[in-house]
């Protein structure tokens, strides 16, 4: 046999192997099992220990809080608590807990369990406080004491009235974990989670999948799917390819440029505006932007329509002010966004004597909620150049960027990109617009905006127990802030997801949480 014959046989054998191999590849995803393409591996499944929306998407199906958001809204509804009473001064909340609820490990859900959850997070002497860190514990920093009054009654004593409390209880940081499971698992609890939700944890195959099954003894209406599998697929293009190939039934955070591939038969694109604001922090303490007119000029100079339509391909809407419209009850809909008006911008710059000013602009390469920050940054740079502002961009990786921006822009930059996703209209302005939230006081007001009127409105809104009253105060705040322009208000993101047509009853929630209990998979 010659060498050539020998190689030909090898080639034929290899060809045959290739032809046989694909037999298993085209298997369809099984009935009743929903496979979700996620953007990353979760960090932990301990709700008190995580901050990423990616992790929240799994958590809200395993756990429940005392309250929850009404489907399709950001309004608070009963969850594990059937009802509650608030003392007149707004510092005492008494919850009546739902009866007959058990955690997936059989531990009863009761007032002691609630107390355990809050003490673990807030009390440094608690024996299981070391199962943290608890980065969002400040959501509940006003809680002074949690008391189990009886089996089904729990009372919170707050240090001061704090209106966002009920809404924070519905946020993942407030979800209830099984005390017995924390005691058994210690720091590893986040890898073997136990809650009371419609799905129970089955397994976490490292870097491959998190599998959750329908919890048959669930107290409420049972889940529509037998199981959900969350698959981390970090590369967005690979995620899109996997969706087209049928390896997953649903994917979230579809890149804007890929959306058109899913228009047509076989797929459904779902969109939902959420409480997200993408803005520029403007340095109001020093440099040209210390002048309100220059800050307003920046707002007029930026073509926000072009950014949301061309750069973001319609996956966002133009923002009018610091509060996103998703907070419908607190949103001031009489505000309209700064128009795109380069002439007006030029006139304002001339009035302020800031023509041709040079600005340093911090741009990040990526980061949670930042959409397409480099492309958006360069579009903004071009718009500002058109009105005669000389903007030089400095780009940083997300962690480095936060390390530069959060301690304040003073002495470093005039503008910086930023985006926030929050659960209550209080959170963002309270943490990022008050005088007492300047970075040296531990807040996120990196641009040093200060207006005593805004400070007073925000303090009053946070302590007001009546929601209509709060709404009125937030609406006033938005008007003042829009006029003062401490930020350039750019966009509110519309989150998106794609499902194949075997998935039914799926909607996205304005809370950005992925509630899957009603979803049916054929």
């Amino acid at each position: 046999m010659t060498l050539f014959n020998w190689t030909r046989r090898a080639v034929l054998a290899a060809g045959a192997a290739l032809a046989l191999a694909p037999m298993a590849a085209t298997a369809q995803t099984p009935e009743g099992v929903l496979i979700v393409g996620q953007v990353a591996e979760p960090k932990s499944l301990d709700p008190a220990a995580v901050t990423a929306v990616n992790d929240f998407r799994i958590l809200v199906n395993l756990y429940e809080g005392l309250t929850r958001y009404k489907p399709g809204t950001l309004e608070v509804a009963p969850g594990l608590a059937e009802s509650w009473e608030v003392s007149e001064d707004g510092t005492e909340y008494t919850f009546k807990l739902r009866e007959g609820v058990t955690f997936h490990d059989g531990t009863p859900f009761n007032a002691e369990a609630v107390k355990f959850n809050f003490d673990r997070m807030l009390n440094e002497d608690h024996p299981f406080h070391n199962t943290g860190p608890f980065p969002l514990a400040f959501f509940f920093s006003s809680v002074e004491e949690t008391t189990a009054v009886d089996e089904t009654t729990v009372k919170f004593k707050l240090s001061a009235p704090y209106a966002p409390f009920l809404s924070n209880l519905a946020y993942p940081t407030g979800l209830m974990v099984s005390p017995a499971a924390v005691e058994a698992g210690g720091a590893d609890f986040g890898r073997a989670p136990v809650g009371t939700g419609p799905f129970k944890f089955v397994e976490w195959r490292a870097n491959e999948a998190v599998v959750i099954d329908k919890y048959e003894e669930y107290w409420g209406e049972p889940a529509g799917a037998q199981a959900v599998v969350f698959r981390p697929i970090e590369d967005a293009n690979t995620r899109v390819a996997e969706m087209i190939a049928g390896g997953i039934d649903m994917m979230v955070e579809v890149p804007p440029t890929a959306l058109s591939q899913f228009e047509g038969d076989g797929f459904n694109v779902v969109e939902q505006a959420g409480p997200h604001v993408w803005f520029l922090i403007l340095n109001a303490k020093e440099g040209p932007l210390a002048d309100k007119k220059v800050r307003q000029a920046v707002n007029y100079a930026i073509n926000k329509e072009a950014i949301v339509n061309d750069v973001l391909e319609g996956t966002a809407e133009v923002a009018a002010g610091p509060t996103p419209p998703a907070f419908a009850w607190a949103y001031n809909d009489s505000l309209s966004p700064y128009s795109y008006d380069p002439e007006k911008a030029k006139a304002l710059l001339a009035e302020a004597g800031a023509e041709g000013a040079s600005l340093t602009f911090y741009v990040t390469e990526g980061g949670s909620g930042m959409l397409d920050p480099v492309a958006m940054g360069t579009a903004i740079q071009a718009d500002l150049a058109a009105v005669g502002l000389d903007v030089s961009i400095e780009t940083y990786e997300w962690n480095t960027f936060l390390g530069n921006v959060n301690p304040g822009l003073e002495g470093k930059a005039d503008m910086a990109e930023m985006a926030w996703m929050t659960n209550d209209p209080d959170t963002l302005p309270y943490l990022a617009l008050r005088t007492d939230a300047w970075p040296d006081k531990g807040g996120f007001n990196s641009g040093y905006y200060s207006n005593p009127e805004v400070d007073a409105l925000l303090e009053e809104a946070r302590t007001a127990v009546d929601q209509d009253k709060r709404a009125e105060l937030y609406k006033q705040m938005q008007e003042i802030v829009q006029e003062d322009a401490p930020w350039a208000f750019i966009a509110n993101w519309k989150q998106n997801a794609v499902t194949n047509d075997r998935v039914e009853n799926f909607t996205l929630e304005p809370s950005f949480l992925l509630q899957l209990e009603k979803v049916v998979k054929k």
């Binding site: 191999a21 590849a25 085209t26 298997a27 491959e208 997300w398 970075p439």
Partner: protein
């Protein structure tokens, strides 16, 4: 041979210490803070300081290095905060997956590369030689991640022959057949460049040997052509091919970083990329040390294999 291997192993120790020093201090120099990665946009300087203290990152750098090194010698690589589990578990699990991918790619590129080189040399200037040389040139010029995307489009999306990504069918999957199915595209993409390099070098190594007097003698004595090429020439040429294989093994492992991202293969490359962006210092350090140790081991194996084939090398 035993003392030669021992000598090579001892020489590897300073290399590994050097690697540990480098990776430790480079990670310390990279801007960005692990606490920021944990806290995200909600990072206040106060909380950052608290978390850094919890993680022991507030201690002097040199002290931290020796603590880390000391712990590592007892097998404790620390705990990854981004994965919330021991670094060594995460690294070994991931590394095993990379070895499956890189191992298959390595076998592919070695077998195909040597085979192509031998055929090319045996048919010098013939049609087969020209075809192989041309194909090899294309193979070497295509970046593996780009080839990966092309393979996904053709074989996964258009022809539906293979899955797009992952390592197993997620539900009800598993088993060697399923694994092979998921392996074929990424391993092929990973093997292409190395196959080209090995083919080129095998061809020239073979040509050199085929010109030697003892080959002419063998042919004159009537030894069959196949036996001349596979028996005499290839064995002699292997002495020069093996070091190339060793180097390519290294390239295949490092090339896996891109391929793992494209095919969502849960290996160490994908882990390192994420760990770096998360500033998960301990995970990066542990991962790099394990990969470096593996490289060193590869090199020792190559040296030993060479010494076995050609006893002159040992001395």
């Amino acid at each position: 041979m035993g003392s030669y291997i021992l000598k090579r192993l001892v020489a590897a120790i300073p290399v590994l210490i050097g690697v540990s020093v480098l990776v430790f201090f480079i990670m310390a120099m990279i801007p960005g803070d692990p606490a920021l990665a944990i806290l995200g946009a909600y990072a206040t300087p106060e909380n950052v300081a608290k978390i850094n203290a919890d993680l022991g990152l507030d201690k002097p750098l040199v002290q931290r290095y020796f603590i880390w090194l000391g712990n590592m010698l007892t097998g404790d690589f620390g705990r990854s905060y981004s994965q919330n589990k021991p670094v060594i578990d995460e690294v070994m699990g991931r590394f095993g997956n990379t070895l499956i991918l890189a191992g298959v790619a390595f076998v592919l590129c070695s077998v195909l590369g040597i085979l192509a080189g031998v055929v090319s040399a045996a048919r010098q200037y013939g049609l087969a030689d020209k075809l192989i040389t041309f194909t090899v040139l294309i193979g070497i010029s295509i970046p593996s991640f780009f080839l990966g995307m092309i393979l996904i489009i053709i074989f996964a999306l258009k022809l539906r022959m293979f899955p797009v990504s992952g390592m197993y069918l997620i539900y009800g999957g598993g088993g060697p057949v399923d694994l092979m199915n998921h392996l074929i595209l990424p391993a092929s993409a990973l093997a292409v460049v190395a196959t080209g390099v090995i083919a080129r070098l095998s061809r020239s190594a073979m040509l050199e040997v085929l010109r030697q007097d003892y080959i002419r003698t063998a042919r004159a004595k009537g030894v069959g052509e196949r036996s001349v090429i596979m028996g005499h020439a290839l064995k002699a040429a292997m002495v020069s091919i093996i070091p190339v294989l060793g180097i390519q093994a290294g390239f295949v492992v490092s090339g896996a970083v891109y391929i793992e991202m494209v095919f969502d293969w849960p290996g160490i490359g994908q882990m390192l990329v994420n760990a770096i962006s998360q500033r998960d210092v301990l995970l990066v350090q542990g991962g790099v040390v394990v990969v470096a140790a593996c490289y060193v081991l590869f090199n020792i194996v190559v040296d030993v294999a060479q010494a076995l084939l050609d006893p002159r090398i040992k001395s």
